[in-house]
């Protein structure tokens, strides 16, 4: 059991460690721009601030989980796709349409009782996200249009949809900039009062419910078995009487629903309204999360918490060490690099990592040029 855990974790941990080393080198090299002279201790100050800002107080921990919640949900959406042999880059678009649907519904129900407003607004976000995930799923299953390209394109379409809705029909009258009205009673109640930073709204518990649910769905139900079989070998799945097309549509629709839920939680729990220029990189962040977690729900939970912690600590890092928050993007990209180039990690740490999880990706791009799947 322990030996297995070590084998599973050695590759992601090795990648994280190497990324921290690369980050440190970049910081030392750029330290003259930060402090005016070469400073070899700068990485220590930076990493300590990251830890302090994400772990070392109640507020910090709440902030970490608030940041992690959407990452985990969209990470699950991406991971679910991986399991089905699909590469969903559309997390960003699905998140955005979910967010704008929740913002619009929430604003319309701002005066209704919370017990009605919150569920309806969340539902609106989930439905919008699901519909937005259905589009690439349907196109992939019935026309063969590759989901990587269609989801990327739909991300940019989503940005325009949000901008159109918020500058047009949903625009709050009298606001100084283009934004939707406050969600009022549709706001997720704050349950962990952290004082500063993000309030610990009730939505941060959602991922902890969804993760076991997805785990159960994937590994304990027929639908999950079907999904994993289609991901591993669509031809065999078809031969065994499964319907790959249906699985593809369902996997992307369900993933879209999770991403839409993440967007709704972010609007109803954190911002309380939606600005027209809402910018997010959640789609790509979620890919890192899903790969860190090797597409396994529990792994995605851990990966999401790690990235959430980095985002939460970034503010303090910028204040205490003078390191711009973009360092987090850099670290994240480098983690991903070492995950992909696992040969380096294996050589440096002499690990024989278990070849599970990421291998499922072998089937992903091989279908880039594919025709519509049969069945």
């Amino acid at each position: 059991m322990i030996a297995r855990a070590v084998r599973l974790l050695s590759l992601p941990l090795g990648a994280i460690l190497l990324a921290l080393v690369v980050g440190a080198i970049v910081m030392i090299a750029s330290s003259p721009l930060v402090t005016g002279h070469f400073d070899v201790t700068l990485p220590l100050t930076t990493y300590w601030a990251l830890i302090e800002g994400s772990l070392l107080s109640f507020n910090a921990i709440v902030d970490t989980i608030v940041n992690a919640a959407p990452l985990i949900l969209v990470g699950l959406a991406v991971g679910l796709g991986f399991k089905a042999g699909l590469f969903n880059i559309g997390g960003q678009g699905q998140f955005l349409v979910g967010a704008v649907a929740a913002a619009g519904t929430g604003a319309a129900l701002a005066g209704s009782p919370t017990a009605i407003a919150v569920p309806v607004a969340l539902l609106a976000g989930m439905v919008a996200g699901a519909l937005y995930g259905f589009i690439p799923g349907f196109l992939k299953a019935y026309t063969g249009a590759h989901e990587v390209v269609t989801t990327i394109m739909l991300n940019y379409v989503a940005i325009q949809i949000v901008s159109f809705l918020i500058t047009g029909p949903l625009r709050a009258p009298g606001a100084s900039f283009a934004r939707s009205d406050d969600v009022g009673n549709a706001a997720l109640p704050a349950v962990l009062n952290a004082g500063s930073g993000h309030p610990g709204h009730i939505g941060i518990f959602v991922p902890f419910l969804v993760v076991p649910l997805i785990w159960w769905l994937l590994f304990k139900t027929t639908a999950g078995f079907e999904l994993r079989t289609v991901g591993a070998n669509p031809d065999a799945a078809l031969y065994a009487g499964m319907r790959p097309r249906r699985v593809i549509v369902l996997a992307l629709t369900f993933g879209g629903m999770l991403a839409g839920l993440a967007g709704s939680i972010e609007i109803l729990g954190v911002t309380g309204y939606m600005p027209a220029a809402y910018s997010t990189n959640i789609g790509f962040d979620a890919i890192t999360v899903a790969l860190l977690g090797r597409a396994h729900p529990v792994g995605i939970l851990l990966g999401g918490l790690l990235l959430g912690a980095m985002r939460a600590g970034a503010g303090l890092m910028q204040i205490q060490a003078g390191i711009p928050v973009q360092m987090i993007d850099l670290l994240q990209g480098v983690i991903l690099f070492f995950l992909a180039a696992d040969v380096i990690v294996r050589r440096v740490f002499r690990v024989k990592a278990a070849d599970v999880g990421v291998d499922e990706l072998q089937t992903v791009t091989s279908s880039y040029a594919g025709k519509a799947p049969a069945g």
């Binding site: 750029s30 940019y156 992903v364 791009t365």
Partner: protein
């Protein structure tokens, strides 16, 4: 003529055509300029995908090149100030900036090649890595540098075509469009045509297409699949680098975080819309850039009458979303299927030689 415009439906269509022609002829220069990074990005895509390697990292490659080129030009400009030469206002700073941008595109492509071809990592993930790292590194360094506000290294000056050409009735705007440009934009047409001819008519092109469609067969007739893929992916970086240089050394002279703003992905869309052909991709890039100009023209100089009422009723967002929607449509095969090279995305496994 005016009488024709009053006929229902046909009249509106005629007005539309007149308006479109007017927009394109008046904005030819800016359309070609805006199409430049799209076309160059797409040429990078052609080099990759025609030899069987998916590249969604064009965005990151261009962003990194834009930053590196601008920063190099700034440094050289401070070290050795020089008067702009009469040819495109070039200075040593700008020229070195362009070279550094190209080198950056090549370096990023080399990483992509190594991950995709040798490590056999998922090629989509490899592209994603390049996008994320480029966004992070350039954002990080740009913020640190902005506290010291480095001076700009300058930019190319567009050529001014002689008036006797641009004043020619009917076709004068074509000269304006293709000649009133900086050197990077001007070079695009040459690059596109040369690449098209090479890809479809040369030995290298035949080999590249063979490797992209059926690498095993290519290897059987003695083509080194791995080597050709490496060479093509890395050479593709030259175009991404040049596309990046366009942002900070040709069109503008400064760098802003995330300034490529999705144009690398529109380049990908142009590549697909143009069916993986250089000329096709270039036409798609022009089309997408025209859609952008059209959306703008409708708001700044709206047409009068019924047409104005109809066009004014279409939100600008529709025009902005058009490239992406069109790409989905052609990929889904609704009108004229766009089919990628057969082996694209698959790492090549050489058979064991025993």
């Amino acid at each position: 003529m005016d009488v024709l415009f009053t006929i229902p439906v046909i009249g509106i269509l005629l007005q539309l055509i007149v308006f479109l022609v007017d927009v394109v002829t008046r904005n030819g220069s800016i359309i070609l300029a805006l199409a430049t990074p799209l076309a160059l990005g797409a040429m990078c895509g052609v080099m990759n995908e025609r030899s069987g390697v998916v590249n969604i990292g064009i965005e990151g490659m261009m962003l990194a090149s834009a930053f590196a080129g601008w920063f190099a030009a700034s440094l050289v400009g401070q070290a050795m100030p020089a008067d702009p030469s009469p040819i495109f206002g070039a200075t040593p700073a700008i020229m070195i900036g362009v070279l550094v941008a190209i080198a950056t595109g090549v370096a990023a492509s080399a990483v992509h090649a190594w991950l995709s071809i040798s490590v056999k990592a998922d090629q989509i993930i490899s592209g994603t890595i390049i996008n994320i790292v480029a966004f992070g590194v350039t954002g990080y360094l740009n913020l640190l540098l902005s506290q010291h506000s480095p001076p700009t290294g300058g930019k190319f000056v567009p050529f001014t075509p002689p008036a006797f050409l641009t004043d020619i009735p009917v076709v004068g705007w074509v000269f304006q469009m293709f000649l009133a440009q900086g050197p990077i934009t001007m070079s695009v047409i040459v690059i596109v045509v040369v690449l098209q001819v090479l890809l479809l008519r040369s030995r290298w092109g035949l080999r590249t297409r063979a490797v992209g469609e059926h690498p095993k067969a290519a290897e059987t007739v003695g083509i080194d699949v791995i080597r050709l893929r490496y060479r093509n992916v890395i050479l593709g970086g030259v175009f991404a680098g040049l596309g990046g240089a366009w942002f900070t050394l040709d069109f503008g002279n400064s760098f802003q975080a995330g300034m490529t703003n999705g144009r690398g992905f529109i380049a990908l869309a142009a590549l697909i819309f143009g069916r993986w052909h250089p000329v096709g991709a270039f036409v798609a890039a022009l089309l997408f850039a025209s859609a952008e100009s059209l959306g703008r023209a409708i708001r700044t100089t709206p047409p009068t009458g019924d047409l104005g009422a109809i066009l004014g009723g279409i939100p600008e967002h529709v025009f902005a979303a058009l490239p992406y929607l069109l790409t989905i449509v052609v990929l889904a095969g609704v009108v004229g299927r766009s089919v990628p090279p057969a082996a694209v995305g698959r790492p090549y496994e050489r058979e064991a030689t025993t």
